[in-house]
Symmetry: C3
Subunit: 212 residues, 3 copies
């Protein structure tokens, strides 16, 4: 039993690290595309990696922030920024973007689950909890795009992204209300979110646009 | 007496609902104009409707947020987004914009009053209270424009908007300091703000621009 | 001894006032350049002057905000906005920009020091403290540029700015951990930050850009 829990925790940590790196990389590449200087690239990397979770903690009034409790994640992202600036070239971008799609989708599910979980612990209503999950998963990317002076990709590229986290969030809430064990709700939320995202990318689903 | 209070409360609630709907609609239409997808339109609608009040609660350290206490407002705006996407067409925009001018002006006054009121309850200085009212009334629209990659309308269209809330806020502070009853301060603040806004639109007042 | 402390406090206050005015002026000029109306120019001035410190206080959960404790700073910036709109013309901008470079550099150092100091008082890790200093010094300008629909200057003009505050912040942390007196850490942080900034401007240092 303890063994299962240990492996569960380890797996969760691995997904979290991979997802944080994926988010940071998407920020770094966006910064590079916009021809920011070294400082700008780093800041956008940090904003993308930690922005969503920080906004969640701000809204839920949770201190210390998760990156204060795990300051090694800050060092990790700083190292990643430096390494990326040394070794990542523009010709690697397309490849990197393909490579980070999976950790990004898993991270979207995991971050949504942590947001929903924290809000449910504070006994917030179900819809609020799901929105907190959404914010945790999506607003890192939104801040990245706002700072880079773009309309957020999540809002106009017509590929389902936030919607996957929205559905996954409701799965988490449903299992929580049925008193399912925590690991099951977590796994189900991640699986549904990442699965939907994978399906959407594979089948090229399009979100409805405004009808004119 | 109780009857008066009941009708007062009901009227206040009606204005609040109408104003929230008006704010959400202005976000939805801005999102549609920017050709966002369904998710983007909803998010911008939510940001516009709840952004100002949320920022006020964040700055004043008030929890739970007003939309956590009134979660039915979240459901209402969600329903409004879906209905708008189903039934609102671009050819209706001009008409809708005209129709929401009045609830928007009333809402500006009401939201400014709630911001001023909360700040005064916390015994903050008068100028801070007025600024909180301004933020509550105006920053929903500012966030809408920032996310849609525009310079905020409130800052460059030269039509008095924030200024009306600023004046209305001082009216509220003045009456509060004269120990006037709460409903009087509220009504006066809303009347002055919305009245000034209406006058400004009717007489086509222009804010001074920078002189070059 | 008391005399020294008194003069130290007075000097600190003078630098803080000069820096706040410099930050506000940079916001006012950016707003004027973007042809905002009177309200927009004022709001951008306020955002630039108080945005960084407010974000620091929000993240560190410090209330009341520094501009609530020193409400006369709000009045001062308001007066500055009005005076600037009356007397500052576009032909004065280049001169003003040159004139505010020094208070701006000193302010960057001072604000960074206050951010680091507050975070260390809360026993946050060193890297977090340095980032708080950076945020305090730099995010006023970032908010100014985001609201004016520009990519933040601090992120893409290739002139060291945030980096100076980053180094200065580490100096503060180092002296703090060696139990140096507070005024020494403050002076050293300001001197290193402003000195580096001055050197960078003088020698025309360039931050590395992304290599393509």
């Amino acid at each position: 039993m303890h063994n299962v829990q240990f492996w569960g925790e380890t797996l969760r940590l691995l997904v979290e690290l991979a997802a944080t790196a994926a988010f940071a990389l998407s920020g770094i590449m966006e910064g590079a595309r916009k021809r920011l200087d070294a400082v700008g690239v780093c800041v956008v990397g940090f904003l993308t990696a930690f922005g969503g979770g920080t906004l969640r903690d701000l809204l839920l009034d949770q201190r210390p922030f998760f990156w204060v409790r795990h300051v090694e994640m800050l060092w990790g992202v700083l190292a990643l920024c430096v390494l990326a600036m040394l070794f990542l070239r523009v010709r690697h971008f397309a490849l990197t973007e393909k490579a980070i799609q999976w950790p990004d989708a898993l991270g979207l599910g995991l971050f949504a689950a942590t947001g929903v979980h924290q809000a449910l612990l504070l006994e917030l209503p179900a819809l609020v909890a799901v929105l907190m999950g959404l914010i945790t998963g999506v607003f890192g990317g939104v801040l990245r795009d706002v700072v880079c002076n773009e309309i957020p990709t999540a809002f106009h590229d017509h590929r389902p992204y936030a919607v996957c986290a929205f559905v996954g969030g409701w799965v988490y809430v449903g299992l929580w209300q049925m008193d399912a064990p925590g690991w099951l709700a977590l796994v189900a939320c991640v699986a549904v979110t990442a699965g939907l995202r994978a399906l959407a990318l594979w089948r090229n689903w399009q979100l409805p646009a405004w009808r004119h």
